[in-house]
Structures are given as C-alpha cells and as structure tokens.
C-alpha cells in the first residue's frame, strides 16, 4: 500500500470535504421541513427565502462535491503519475528483461491498468469516508427527533455491514470472474485475427465465424450467470434501504395522523420534524449504496497493486551508464575479458582483441557468444573478473563513452515505430548514403513508398527478413565506429544476401575497424583473422 502513499494527504482532505458536502444536505432538509411545516401550521412562510436558502446551500453542496472530486483526482493523478514514472525509470535503468512479462504486458500495466487506480482513489475512497460519518450523524439526528425512527435505522444499520461483507465477497468474485471471461473472449478474437490469412487460405471463414459465435454465446451465458449473482446482491441492499425508508415514512405518517402516540420524547411529532426525518432517511442508506456500487473499483485496484508489486520485485541487472550520448572514450579500440563468467556461473576463457583485428566467436548454442558480446558492449558488467576497454577497466562511469565508439548488430533487430531514417540514425550524425550503400540496401530504401521517410511498424513493416538485417548493418556502420560487434549477422539469410552482409562487414574492417562476430556460419568465420571457440576449454 506504500504505492498509494504519495496521494495520501490529498486523499484525506478530499474525504473531509466529501463528508462536509454530505452534511450540507441536512441543512437543506431542515429548511424544506421548516417551510412545509409552517405552511401546514398556518404560520408565515417566506417562500422565496426558503427557496433561496435551499438553492444557495444546494450550490454550495455541488461546489463542495466538485472540490472533493478535484482533490481526489489530483491525489489519484499523483499516485498514478509516480507509479508510471517508476515503471519507466526502472525499465530504462535495467539491462535485462523483467521476469514480470514482455514489453506488451509492462506497457499494459503502465498504461491502461494503472488508470484503474483512479476510480478506486476517487469513487471508492470518498464513499468509504462518507460511510464512516454520515449514517452516524443522521442516526443521532433521528434519535434526537424520535427514538422510534432512530430505532428503525439502528435495526437496519447493523444489518448493513453484514450485507456489505456478503456483497463484497460476491461482487469481488463476480468481477474477477467476469474480467476473466471478457479476457478469454478477447483472447479468442485476437487468436482468430492473428490467423486471418491462414483461415482465408484454408477456406475456413464460415466455419471459424460460426465456431466463434458458438464460443462467444457460451461465454455470454456464463458471464450473465455471474452478473445475476452480483446484481442480486446489490438488489438485496437496495431492498433493505427501501424497506427502511418505507417504514420511516409509514411511522411518520401514522404519527402525524395521531394514530401512533409513541416514539417521541414527550411532545408529539411535529409536521416539520416528520418531513425532516423523511428527507434524511434515504441519505442514511445512500453512502452504503455508493460504496457497494464502487466495490469493484477496489477489487480492480487491488489486482493492479499486486501486479505493481510483482513488477517492482524483479530489480534485475543495472545497465552501466545512462544510455546517453557522450564524447567517445579515448584510447585504442581494444577489448579484453579477464576472468569473467557467464550468468550461469560458468567461467569464460580470457579474450584479448587488438585494434584492427577481425575475430570470430564460435561455439555451440549456449556457449555464451551473445553474453560475451553484451559484456564487450558494456550492456552488463561482469559479476567476477574485468572487462578492459581502450586500455582501462569498463565501469559504470565510462560505459556510455565506450559505447559511443561501437557499431552494434543484434541478432533480432527491433525497429522503433518511426521513420526508417530515424531508425537508422537514432539521433546520430553520420554519412547515411554511404552506410546504406555499404550495406547494399540503398536500392531497397529507394523502392519504399516514401523512401527513408517510410514509417516502420513493430514487425519492420514492408521489409523482408534479409532487408531488415542489412538495415541493421547500415545502422551499425553509420557513425564509422572503431569496433563492430555483430551477433549472427548471416543467420537465416540466403547465400546471396549473406555474402552482401559479409562484404559490408569486411569493408568496415578494411577501413580500420575492429570486428568481433559471433557466428555459426563457417564461411563467415573463415574470412576472419582469428577464430575463438568459446565451447573449447582454455
């Protein structure tokens, strides 16, 4: 619950204002009761005065409600904003993936799911504050006017926590199950929509839509069964409120007629007091009904808080440096690993790569090729041993400067949503036409509908696998790096494309760049000066 702490002070003030707004209604009720009572008693009634008093207090009450909502929303915005910033900061600070879930799940948590805290902090919290005060005040007023009415409310009162508990349980379960059902229906639709092409090509359109209709109908029937329980429990609450109010009305009516002569402190119930009690009785139950209506807000918020805690639980590895652009680290373009080990704890043989060398890292899957490249790129610091770059130990402080000298070709390129140009430059200076030409993708870029301004989607939109790989090469060599780290640059490529990529990399080496390539491809490894087998013993 410390996640809610930032908005606590604001929420408390909002709750206070909300309670006061509820109290104003009592004054309004008193004015109306007084006016109608005097009307019956042949006394002088200032009609306009009473109406004006009622209106002014009503506007005051609306303004107080507005103020309470504003404060509560501000508190909610603070809580949500801080939780969201914390997620973004944590994701930008770490270098490995969160075990909480994939990028989509984290984005959903930081986006729409966090918003669910809003209704909890505004609707539910305010209703709960009112429940704590208003029924008690109204009960006291009822006893003051008539012990019988007080008794009716008192009897109905204790029943309500019992029902609240029952409803809470039922509604929580109902909303959880309903959320799950809706989730499943969306999963069904998502699955079919992601298989559209296959369904169409297999001529299965009609079969799939009728199957979907049957499943959706089945789910709807089950959802309605759940909703029936939820609605029934809130109907019971309404029924109790209605019975309570009706009993007050009937008692007051009979007392005023003179048919009942008990229930007051001596003098018979005056018309004004009767009308006053009738106006207050529904307000005795109203906060409870508000709370019941907002119950699923609490259930949803609890689920979100659990997920936030799960997300924060995995601290992960801290990324060395900020990932910001700084001046390059001076010194030779050399890199060496001394006494390092893999995340599994298995030691890595010592590696020393001299400036201008062309080195292939080979070894079976799991030998640690990618881990070695990540260590060299300063994406993680070794738990043991040392990575020496440009003649000095790699540290938190010089990681950004070291990376400013690198070219990086990852195994699976991820394209940001943005133009091809933005994806290639990533904000850096460099000779883009030269890089595109060297990676043999200049013609590909020209053929795109809007050239370099074409927007790429999450799947690399419009580029084939080989083209996307060559774009990554162009990105890596754009800033004429001193050292290029490439992870399986020719995997899954046809021989012609693989040759293009290989030549592009060798051209960089010819320019003087150091080349470190992790590969399974014997043809590529053979073109290097030296092959380091990570699977072999030291």
């Amino acid at each position: 619950m410390e996640l809610l702490a930032p908005g606590k002070a604001g929420a408390r003030r909002a709750a206070g204002v909300s309670v006061v707004s509820g109290l104003v209604w009592i004054a309004q009720a008193a004015i109306v009761a007084q006016a109608l009572g005097s009307l019956l008693g042949q006394g002088a009634v200032n009609a306009l005065g009473a109406a004006a008093g009622f209106a002014v207090l009503g506007v005051l009450r609306a303004a107080l409600v507005h103020a309470a909502e504003t404060r509560a929303q501000d508190a909610a915005d603070t809580v949500i904003g801080q939780a969201r910033s914390a997620i973004v900061a944590a994701e930008a600070r770490r270098s490995d993936d969160n075990t909480f879930g994939g990028a989509g799940a984290i984005a959903a948590l930081a986006g729409e799911k966090l918003e669910l805290l809003g209704p909890y902090l505004t609707r539910y919290a305010l209703a709960r504050a009112r429940v704590g005060v208003l029924p008690l005040v109204i009960l006291a007023l009822a006893f003051w006017q008539s012990w019988a009415v007080g008794l009716i409310l008192l009897v109905a009162g204790p029943l309500i926590p019992v029902f609240m508990a029952l409803i809470g349980l039922a509604a929580k379960e109902a909303s959880a199950r309903q959320m799950a059902e809706i989730g499943t229906l969306n999963d069904f639709l998502v699955e079919r929509l992601s298989t559209l092409v296959d369904i169409r090509l297999l001529g299965a359109g009609e079969a799939v839509t009728s199957g979907f209709a049957a499943q959706a109908g089945d789910l709807r029937a089950r959802t309605m069964a759940v909703l029936r329980v939820a609605f029934l429990s809130s109907t019971v609450l309404e029924l109790f409120a209605a019975i309570g109010v009706a009993m007050v009305a009937v008692y007051v009516g009979f007392s005023l007629l003179g048919a009942l002569s008990f229930g007051t402190w001596g003098a018979p119930l005056s018309p004004a007091a009767g009308i006053f009690l009738l106006l207050l009785a529904p307000e005795f139950f109203q906060p409870l009904r508000d709370l019941a209506a907002a119950w699923h807000d609490k259930a949803a918020a609890d689920a979100v808080l659990d997920e936030l805690a799960a997300h924060a639980a995995d601290q992960g590895q801290t990324l060395p440096g900020q990932g910001a652009r700084v001046a390059p680290l001076p010194g030779p373009a050399s890199v060496a690993l001394e006494g390092c080990c893999l995340p599994s704890g298995r030691p890595i043989r010592d590696i020393a790569i001299q400036p201008g060398e062309r080195v292939a890292l080979v070894g079976p899957s799991g030998a640690g090729k990618t881990s070695v490249l990540r260590l060299m790129a300063g994406l993680t610091l070794p738990e043991r041993g040392e990575v020496r770059v440009a003649g000095q130990p790699l540290s938190m402080d010089n990681a950004d400067a070291w990376r400013a000298r690198l070219g990086w070709m990852p195994q699976a390129p991820h394209f940001l949503s943005g133009s091809l140009r933005a994806n290639l430059t990533l904000g850096r200076e460099g000779d883009l036409p030269r890089a595109l030409h060297a990676a043999a993708v200049d013609k590909v870029a020209d053929a795109l509908p809007r050239g370099l301004n074409t927007r790429l989607g999450e799947t690399g939109g419009g580029l084939s696998g080989g083209e996307a790989r060559r774009m990554t090469l162009a990105r890596a060599i754009l800033s004429a790096p001193d050292l290029i780290l490439a992870d399986e640059p020719t995997a899954d490529l046809d021989p012609a494309t693989a040759a293009l990529v290989t030549e592009g990399l060798l051209a960089e080496a010819a320019r003087g760049a150091t080349l470190v390539i992790a590969t399974h491809d014997p043809a590529l490894a053979a073109r290097m000066d030296r092959v380091i087998d990570l699977g072999a013993a030291k």
Partner: protein, 544 residues
C-alpha cells in the same frame, strides 16, 4: 458522432427487442423512483394536515401506504430486471460486433490482414470494442428512458399540480441536461481523441524502449527514448486532467440544475399554497418529485465522461465493420492449368516489384521459384492466390481469370501455405479440421506424409492440446502441422512459401516426397530458399 450513430444503429438492428424492453424497464425504474418520493412527500404532508385538522381518523392511510410499499419493493425488483436485460442485450450486441469485425477482416485485403496481426493493433481493436459497451448502457438507454420519464412526469404533474410547476420541473431538467450535454460533448470528443493518441504514443514508445533496450543503449539513444516516453506521458496526463475537469464540471452543472429546479418548485409550490390555489400536500408532491427526477439526469454524467472515448472507438471500429461480409460462392472444379501472363506486381508498400512475368503450372508438375531475398517470391505466390493485386497482365485458373472465381471455389482449387503460418489454441484435430471435415484416417495419412505422425502419437494423438500460437510444438513441428493442414485440402494447385523452413535436410527431403505421394496429381509451386526444395522440383524458375 456519425460513427457513434452507425454503431448504435448496428446494435439497435441486432438487439432491437431486448434494447426496447431494457429502455422500457429503465424508464419504469426511474418513474417508480420519482413516484415513490413524490407520493411519500404528499402522504406525510397530507397526513400532517389531516392530523392538525383533527380529521386523522377519516384519512385513508392504507391505499397510499400500500402504494409506498409497492413502489419501494417494485422499484428494487424492476431495477434487477432492468440490469439483467440491458447487460444481456449489450453483451449480445458486442458479441455480434466482434463477429462482424472478424468477418470483415476475413474479407479484407491481404495487406490489412497483416497489419491487424501486430499485437498493438489487436490490443487496440479489442479495447475499442470493450469501450463500446457504454453506447447502449451509458448513453442510448439512459437518454431514451430519461426523455420518456420526463415526458410522463410532465403529463402527470400537469394533471395533479397544474401547468406552471409541470413545465418548470420537466422543462428545467430537459433544458439543463441538454445544455450541459451540448457544452460537454463538444469538448470531450477532440480531447479524448488526443488523449487516446498520447496514450498510444506512450504505449508504443515504452514498448520500443523495452524491446530495443540494448540497441538503444549501445547507440546512446536510450536516454532520448526515455525522454520521449515521458513527454508522451506528460501530454497524456495534461489531456486526461482536462477531460476529468470537463467531466467534473458537467457533474457540477447537472447538480446545480437539479438544485435550481427543486428550489424553484419549492418557491412556486409554497406561494401557490399560501395563495390557496394549491393544496400544501400537492406542493410537497411537486417538490419531492422534482428532487427525485435528479436521478433521471444523473446518469448523463457517466455517459458524457465516456462520450469522447466511445466516439473515438466507434470511429475506428466503424471503419472495420463497414467492409462487406465474406460472400460464400459456389464450388467449381478447376480442370486446366494455373497460368500467369505478363504479370506486373507492386511491392506491398509501393514501388515496382516485377514486370512482364509469365509462368504455367500444370497439375502433377513441381516448380521451384528461386532468387535472392526481397525479389518478390512471396508476393508472387500471394498474387497467384488472389491476395495481392496485379497491376498488369492476367492470372488464369482452369481457363477463367482468377478475379472471376468465387472465394469458395478458388480456395477449394488452390491452397497457399504462407511464409508464417499460424496455429491456434486447441487440439491437433482442431488444427487439422480448419482445412475442412476429414476422417481420423485422413488426418493420420496427412501427418504421415509430413513425417509428423510419430511426434503427434508421442504427444497423445490427435487429441493432444496445443497452446496459443501452437505452443507445445517446436518451430519445425509447427511448420509441418501447417503443411499437413494445407495438403488435407487436396487442392489441384498447392503453393508453398519456404515449406521446409526449420527442418534439417533429411527431414525436408522426406517431407517433400511425402507431400508428392499424398497429392500425386497436384501442381506444386515452391518459393524455395534451400537446395532440398530446389532439387525436389521438376523445373526451376529464377526471379531476378
């Protein structure tokens, strides 16, 4: 607004009776609430007057108090029925909407099909459909029922307390609600749209930051990307704040309108009673009814707060369901060859891909298409399957142009296995049944043809369950299951896009031979990327 209407019309058309009954019950609930409070006020005031006049003994207490009890209990019961009915109708309408979206996408052009496959597009579509549940529940039904109740209340009040109070109360609420709705809805739509755009930007940029973390860090762009995420969040926050402010303002104004109407009713009633033109009890009735009618306009606030979001969602979903539904057509046997003549194709994004390409595929023949990546092998297969538009030339299937073929007949005659074939949750048999009804023996024969029979038998046979996207099978096994599904169609022409991807060389050759044995008479065209596929073909066509 126009799109919201379209969605509403669709839902209305789909669930007219249920929605009408729901609206009627909503109105009953509101009317009973107003009657309950109005009657209670009248009852107590009249009882007090009778008590003061000393005629309490002759006052008929039983009918009014029975009425109060009936209205109190009846209202709770009607509310239960109303909730069930409106939620059921809404769920049914949303179900039809989802079905329609699915059907529309099934008939969409191939490029659109690929677009929708991205996780973000899917997320957005489902969120949009979920947002539309408010169209009947928080917009159409409350407005319809509210208008009806105001009308009825106006007529009843006119009869009981006269035209002045009737017009003041109902007119006041109607005008107040209209003014607030008009002023708020106008602001909400653009704000919601911009907030939604900011939310999408935040989401997309955060996903980019997480997925591209390593790349961004090495290129010194991570800090900038984080700044971009935070900028989107700031924009979203300020827009959400503006939306909330507009919603609160609407709530405040509705509340003030209710207070003024009730205060006015109190003043008019009191003055009329003092002047002797209205009984005090009826003045109380008018005031209490005015108080209760606040319930009629209160739901408007929720509807208005969601209005922009719903309008925005309706705009996008409306585009999807506007497309025509898949039209089933007659089956037709293809007798002749698959012939492409002088074909010109554009890339999916634009730009010329190939020009003047010709090819004839005969039944029983196997042709391999080769050429470097990006030369257009996949696009050519898509065009031959009728999923990619051709700019010049013609494709004939069995002597008639592809465009003249009805969808069903075309799919029966020709099957394409695309490069990335997807599997769904379900059993192996479910996956195979997507190809159409077939016996268990046929299923096993097809699995044997792609050398998957022992794998499936080890997993528990045809009833073995697969997870989402074929989880539980390796990449190569999933590929072979998709192959088995394709050959079960027993098409005259089978187009395969890199069919043996992820298989070792020996398995690849065995699978290709198995396919030929299973379909001895089919014409097979392979977009080939490895020697096993090229050597399997009778003829090789190289694209340049």
């Amino acid at each position: 607004m126009k799109h919201l209407w379209a969605i509403l019309r669709f839902m209305w058309h789909d669930q007219r009776n249920a929605l009408l009954r729901g609206a009627a019950l909503t109105a009953v609930v509101l009317a009973m609430g107003a009657a309950l409070l109005g009657l209670s006020g009248w009852f107590i005031t009249a009882a007090a007057a009778a008590g003061l006049a000393g005629v309490g003994a002759t006052f008929d207490v039983f009918r009014p108090s029975a009425m109060v009890r009936f209205l109190a209990l009846g209202r709770a019961a009607a509310r239960y029925g109303e909730r069930l009915l409106t939620h059921d109708a809404t769920l049914r309408a949303l179900e039809s909407l989802r079905l329609r979206v699915l059907a529309a996408h099934l008939a969409a052009p191939h490029g659109k099909m690929l677009q929708i496959r991205g996780a973000q597009a899917l997320n957005r579509l489902t969120a949009d459909i979920d947002a539309l549940d408010g169209v009947p529940l928080r917009l159409a039904l409350p407005v319809l029922a509210g208008a009806a109740v105001l009308l009825i209340a106006g007529l009843v009040l006119w009869a009981l307390v006269g035209p002045v109070l009737a017009l003041w109360i109902t007119g006041g609420y109607a005008l107040g609600a209209l003014a607030v709705a008009w002023a708020t809805a106008q602001r909400m739509v653009p704000l919601s749209r911009r907030a939604e755009r900011a939310a999408q930007a935040f989401r997309g940029r955060l996903i980019d930051l997480i997925r591209g973390r390593g790349d961004l860090a090495v290129h010194g762009h991570l800090a900038t990307q984080r700044g971009a995420v935070e900028a989107a969040e700031e924009r979203r926050l300020s827009l959400r704040t503006a939306l909330h402010r507009a919603e609160r303002r609407a709530g405040f104004l509705l509340s003030v309108a209710g207070t003024l109407v009730a205060a006015g009713a109190l003043a008019i009633g009191l003055m009329a009673a003092q002047a002797g033109t209205l009984e005090p009890a009826l003045a109380a009735l008018a005031f209490f009814t005015a108080l209760a009618l606040a319930e009629v306009v209160a739901p408007l606030r929720r509807g208005l707060s969601d209005f922009g979001r719903m309008a925005d969602a309706a705009r996008r979903v409306g585009r999807d369901i506007a497309a025509p539904e898949l039209v089933p057509g007659a089956t037709r046997r293809a007798m002749g060859d698959l012939v492409a003549r002088g074909l010109s194709l554009l890339r999916p994004g634009g730009g010329v891909l190939m020009q003047g390409f010709s090819l004839t595929l005969r039944p029983g023949q196997t042709i391999a298409l080769t050429g470097p990546s990006g030369v257009g092998k996949s696009t050519l297969l898509l065009a031959l399957a009728g999923l990619h538009p051709i700019t010049e030339g013609q494709i004939d299937l069995g002597g008639s142009p592809l465009t003249d073929w009805p969808e069903k007949g075309l799919r029966d005659a020709l099957t394409l296995l695309p490069q990335r074939s997807a599997l769904m949750v379900g059993s192996v048999a479910d996956a195979l049944n997507l190809a159409g009804p077939a016996s268990e023996a046929e299923h096993w024969a097809a699995l044997r043809a792609v050398r998957l029979d022992t794998v499936i038998a080890d997993k528990g046979g045809l009833a073995a369950l697969l997870g989402p996207r074929g989880a539980g099978l390796s990449g190569g096994e999933g590929r072979r299951l998709a192959l088995a599904r394709a050959i079960l169609r027993r098409p005259r022409f089978l187009l395969l896009d890199e069919p043996t991807e992820g298989l070792d060389d020996a398995t690849a050759r065995a699978v290709l031979a198995g396919i030929r044995d299973f379909l001895p008479d089919a014409g097979i065209l392979i977009a080939a990327h490895r020697p096993a596929e090229v050597e399997f073909a009778d003829r090789v066509v190289t694209l340049k």
